[in-house]
Every structure is written in structure tokens, then in C-alpha cells.
Symmetry: C2
Subunit: 368 residues, 2 copies
């Protein structure tokens, strides 16, 4: 991470007077106002080499120097993945949505050990959306690339359309630089389980934003947690660094530590045993928010996704890259392991959650 995304107030000033909306412009006029803001990184010399043909034709053309590319896609929908206005008074700006779009897509590329190379982005906007919203989105996306160390990544195309609800889909590709992709299935017995970035902060943030007891702008620490939800910062360079250091498995923590570590464990045929002291360390900075809301900060650490930290497994004894800290180890799966037994333990025991979620649960879009 070269620097955090630009500081933004949680409750921006309302603009004076009437606001121009996207419904008042033609598609071409809107594109004219948004596209130049998206193209910033492509113009930088560092990113120029892999974009062989940028936006403006039927497709872009991107270099794949080692003859392969990784690809992933993610969608955010208003009122599903973010609220435009939160009960406590905070708002999700276009800038926030751009940063979050960058984080969730870049983290997936990083989790393969790849370096993000190109993005196409589709925006669906209700006609009443202020023109400044997609402009802010573009700034947040591009600032997010830079802030998260993906400065070679360039926007090479997209789609702009109308709809009843605001929705953003980005597809990111990445370059493996000649290395094997780091899959979920490579964790070995005795391996060190390590975390880059954070986990639980974004979950504490959404709990605050959803609760009227939290008022933005009155407590810097709480505002920081809210910002971790609104504008997560994924540790993108940690992905390729882990691959270079010999990581044998890696995953983006988008659905929570228990669920995502469980995926690595299941794919690799091991059990992940988290270190209780490491979990407590991660919970420590969340205590003020937990006190305010009467919650258990450990629940946020174990089940909260959306920080987009990276969980990697290294062979025992591997010196960890600087961005990683050890938080557990891999144990052999019991001989007759079945899916009713937890794949992820804390200090050798099935984790207990204060809120009584089923063990291993994180976020589910369609949960009844």
C-alpha cells in the first residue's frame, strides 16, 4: 500500500443548489464527463506497457506477457452490498464505492499471486443519480488502484447504462509473471497460516453504520472502523509477495475468516487451527465499537469479510513476507473427516461464537 485512499468525510456537505443528474445527459455526454477520470493510470508510463489498445473500440487489447491471465468479476448493488444512506447519518459516496470496487476485485487477483493488469467496469445508474456520483466513483476506483499498490492496473473499457437501482460490476485481469497460480488447495500439514491486511474491522464498521448509537464524526477510532467498511484497503502487493516467498495456498478473506479458512482447509484436505492469542490481538482494536454496541469483537474477527485481507499458507519455517503475520497452522484432517466437523479450530477446539451463528458462516447474499 503506497498510501491510504484520499480522506473523505463520512457525512459530506450537501452541494448548494440543484444538482445535475445523469438522466439529463445523453450517454455520450455522460461518458465525456466520466471517461477522462477513469483513464488516469493508463496515461502513467508505468501502466502504459500492458495496455496495447485502450477504450474506444469494440474491445481493448491487453498484453499477457507469460501467455496467461487471471480473471475475476464482482458486483456491488445498492442496498444489498452498500447503503447510500446509513441510519447513523453516514453516506456511501461514489468515491467510497469506487475504492471498494477496486479492493474487492484487486484482492481476488492478488490472492492468486498475480499482479492486477486491466479492469473493465459497468455502471448501472438510476436517472436521478447526480452526475458527480459516477465521476466520484471513477476517482475512487483510480485512487484505490494507486492506494492499494496496483498502479500498473488500468481501466480499459466499460459499459454505462440506466436502471432502477445503482449497480457496479468490475472485471479485473492479472499477470502471473511466470509463476504458478496460488490456489486454495495447496495447504500442507504443519504449514503456517498467515494474514496480510486486517479482518473484522469492516464488520465492526458495518455494525456501527447500521446502528443509530454511532454518530459519525465524534470518535476517530469508530470513524476509522466505519471507513474500513466504506473504503476497504486490500493489501494487494502482499499477494505476489506471498507467491514469491513460496506460499502454497491463498484466499481473499471476503466472506469471513472461518468461512474462507474453511474453504482452504476443505480444498487442501487439512484442518486450520487458528491461534486464539492472534484472534484476540485482531479483536483488541474493535473493543470500543463492541462496547458501544454490546457485541463480541471476536465474532467480527472470525466471521467478518469485506476487509479483503489475504490468508496464505506457507511451508513451516518459511520466513514470512513483511506484510504477513502468523495466525495459525495446518493440522492433518482426522481420518474420517466429514462435513459436520469444523474445518477451522481456534486453539484446537471448535470455535464458539457469541452471536450463535452456525460455525463457519460468513456472508450469504441469498440467505433466507
Amino acid at each position: 500500500m503506497t498510501r491510504p485512499p484520499a480522506e473523505q468525510p463520512l457525512v459530506p456537505d450537501a452541494p448548494p443548489g440543484p444538482v445535475p443528474t445523469v438522466g439529463e445527459l445523453s450517454e455520450a455526454e455522460l461518458l465525456e464527463r466520466v471517461l477522462p477520470l477513469l483513464l488516469r493510470p493508463a496515461a502513467a508510463p508505468a501502466g502504459a506497457d500492458q495496455v496495447l489498445l485502450g477504450p474506444g473500440d469494440d474491445c481493448a487489447v491487453v498484453a499477457a506477457p507469460d501467455g496467461r491471465y487471471v480473471i475475476t468479476t464482482d458486483t456491488q448493488v445498492q442496498d444489498q452490498d452498500f447503503r447510500l444512506a446509513w441510519p447513523g447519518g453516514a453516506v456511501t459516496t461514489g468515491y467510497d464505492t469506487g475504492v471498494k470496487c477496486a479492493a474487492q476485485n484487486l484482492a481476488d487477483v492478488a490472492a492468486m499471486g498475480a499482479v492486477p493488469s486491466a479492469v473493465v467496469v459497468s455502471l448501472t445508474l438510476p436517472p436521478g443519480t447526480p452526475v458527480s456520483w459516477p465521476q466520484d466513483f471513477a476517482r475512487g476506483l483510480v485512487d484505490g488502484f494507486e492506494a492499494m499498490g496496483a498502479d500498473r492496473c488500468a481501466v480499459v473499457g466499460g459499459d454505462l447504462g440506466a436502471g432502477r437501482e445503482l449497480s457496479v460490476t468490475a472485471t479485473v485481469t492479472g499477470d502471473l509473471e511466470g509463476r504458478d497460480p496460488v490456489r486454495r488447495s495447496g495447504a500442507g500439514e504443519g504449514g503456517t497460516v498467515a494474514l496480510a491486511g486486517t479482518t473484522g474491522r469492516a464488520a465492526a464498521g458495518v455494525a456501527l453504520l447500521e446502528d443509530r448509537r454511532y454518530r459519525p464524526g465524534q470518535d476517530e477510532l469508530l470513524d476509522g472502523l466505519a471507513a474500513a467498511q466504506l473504503r476497504p484497503c486490500a493489501p494487494v502487493p502482499a499477494g505476489p509477495a506471498a507467491a514469491r516467498a513460496g506460499a502454497t495456498a491463498m484466499i481473499d478473506l471476503s466472506d469471513g475468516l472461518l468461512r474462507d479458512a474453511g474453504r482452504v482447509a476443505a480444498a487442501s484436505g487439512v484442518v486450520v487451527d487458528l491461534d486464539g492469542a492472534a484472534v484476540a490481538d485482531l479483536a483488541q482494536p474493535l473493543r470500543p465499537a463492541a462496547r458501544l454496541l454490546g457485541a463480541d469483537p471476536r465474532d467480527w474477527v472470525l466471521t467478518g469479510g469485506e476487509d479483503h485481507g489475504l490468508l496464505a499458507v506457507f511451508p513451516r519455517g518459511t520466513p514470512l513476507p513483511g506484510m504477513f503475520r502468523a495466525i495459525g497452522s495446518c493440522a492433518p484432517a482426522p481420518p474420517a473427516h466429514d462435513d459436520t466437523l469444523p474445518r477451522v479450530l481456534v486453539d484446537g477446539r471448535a470455535p464458539h461464537l457469541a452471536l450463535g451463528h452456525p460455525v463457519g458462516e460468513g456472508w450469504d447474499h441469498f440467505e433466507p
Copy 2:
């Protein structure tokens, strides 16, 4: 095109009894029911070689044999890009939406002269959507690939989420097979302007579907036009064939002949002169629909997109590949050409539209 997408009734039978909806399933349960339907082509030996790692990890890994890939993205939103139910009684099925998603993305790849290689697809579904809808979508997408001659193309990843309106975004990549991309800017004076596929049929189809005077299932010819709107069939292999035959410019006709030919003309610094007889030929099969609705079929040919035909420019005298027919030629732009003069003529004169659209206009998502 190896064969047309499976025949589907325009007014499908309603299923008996209550229909299971996506809101009753978890994301994992839904994925279990949809993913196997999407993976069909990847299992085929012809497509297996370029998918180095399929869905199930943070990213897929796709081969780019010549060290480059083309990439494009397109979104369809309910009630913007399609209606689920049309005034005359026809419905847009999940299958239709899948075929259309294939057509609009594959055509963009083909228009660069590339061969489609991989797709990631994001579905946003209201909780009340029948589970059969995303399943039908998957079948339509995969059938669409095969029907349009993109049988090497495989679905390698996606995202599945909830929202208030149904929305589909696909990103497709393609392989240039060592050739230069065919851009919009390469049309030269005297070049032959040629069309693969059709134009105007999908526009006639949407006019029928929007009008209660059209009743589906009573006239095979009219039903065929409606189907061209619901399930367009892009001439995908014509793209690489044009590139191999020496096409110097190419574009996907998604926004209408006047507008898209105008883009080629502007990018290339020429004027496109369409052959009035060729336009009349294209209008001929639309006459029954035009009679029913009191419309001018020539308007549909000149301004209707969504058939996803390909418009290519070949150096004069080039033998055209089998899928193309000549429909005009390129003339030098007048010395002091400015943007108030039409870039596209018919028989040397500014085209006149019966409906009085501004010349050069096609579809605009945000048109006030």
C-alpha cells in the same frame, strides 16, 4: 453459425403449482443448481485447452497463446434492455437473456477479428425470481456460444447476488491468434463496406413486441422478427474470417447502421456511402411487420441495433468471405468536413428517415 439457438416458444407454458424462488435458497445452494449448466463447454475437448484453471478459486486462469487478449463487457438490465413481459403477451425468458448476453459480448470480440476464449458472468436476481430463470439463462448462454460458432468459449467464473431488478453483466475475452486487431480507424478510400449477419430485424422485433397489434404465435414471419430481438444470433466466425481476408476496419452493429458506420467513418476520416439497393434488400423481409405497424422498414435497417451484425471494410477488390455481402463503399471525406455533415450517406445523399430521428442516431441509454 453452426445452428440456431434452440427453438423456444414466445409465450412459454406457465409451470403448474408453486415455483421455487432464488430467495428460498442460500447462495451455495443456488450456485450448485446453476454452475453445472454453465460449465458444459469447458468440459468439451475443443475448449479445454485454453482454460488453465476454471471456476472455484479467487480467479480463473486462461491461456493467451500470442501474449495478448481482447476484453469487453456488457450489461443488460430488466426494463431497460429487455422487458420480462411484453404488451402483446410474449415474455423474455432466462434462455433468451442468456442467448442475447452471448450475442452482444461475442460480437464485440468478433469485431476485433478475435476468437472468443473465456467469459465471466455476474447475475443480480430479485429474491422472487424462479430458480429456473438463472438455470435457463445458463442454458441460453452456453447454447448461444455453440449456436454462434464460439464453441471454444468457456465460462470461467462469475458472481451471483440479490437485487431489486434483474441484471446480467458478462465480460468476454478473446484470442487474436497472432493477428493485428481490426480497429474502427482503418477504413480507406474506395474500400468495400460489407455486412455479415443482419440489421433491422431486431428493431422490427422490438417494435412488434411493444405493440398490442402483434400477437405472438399467429404469423411465423413476425415471430421470427420478435425472436431476432429476444435471441439475436451474432455471426461470430465472420469476425476472424474478415481479419484473415484483410479487413482494415470492423465494428459490431449494436447501435444501428448509421451510428456505427458513422463511428468507423469518423475514426477513419472517410465518408461511408451505403448502396440504396442493398438497404432496400435488407428492408424487404421487414415489410409485413412495417405494414402491420404503419412503419418504414428502411428506418429499422438504418437505425436498429441489437442484431449484432458485423460491419467490415475491405480494400477494394478483396474477395469477401462467404458470410459478408457488400452494402456500400468508402469515399474521401470532403476537405473541410465538420461534424454537422453526415458521415454516412445512402447513394451519395444524406439519409432521410421517415420517423425524423436526427441522422446518425441509434440507441442511447440516457437519452432524455
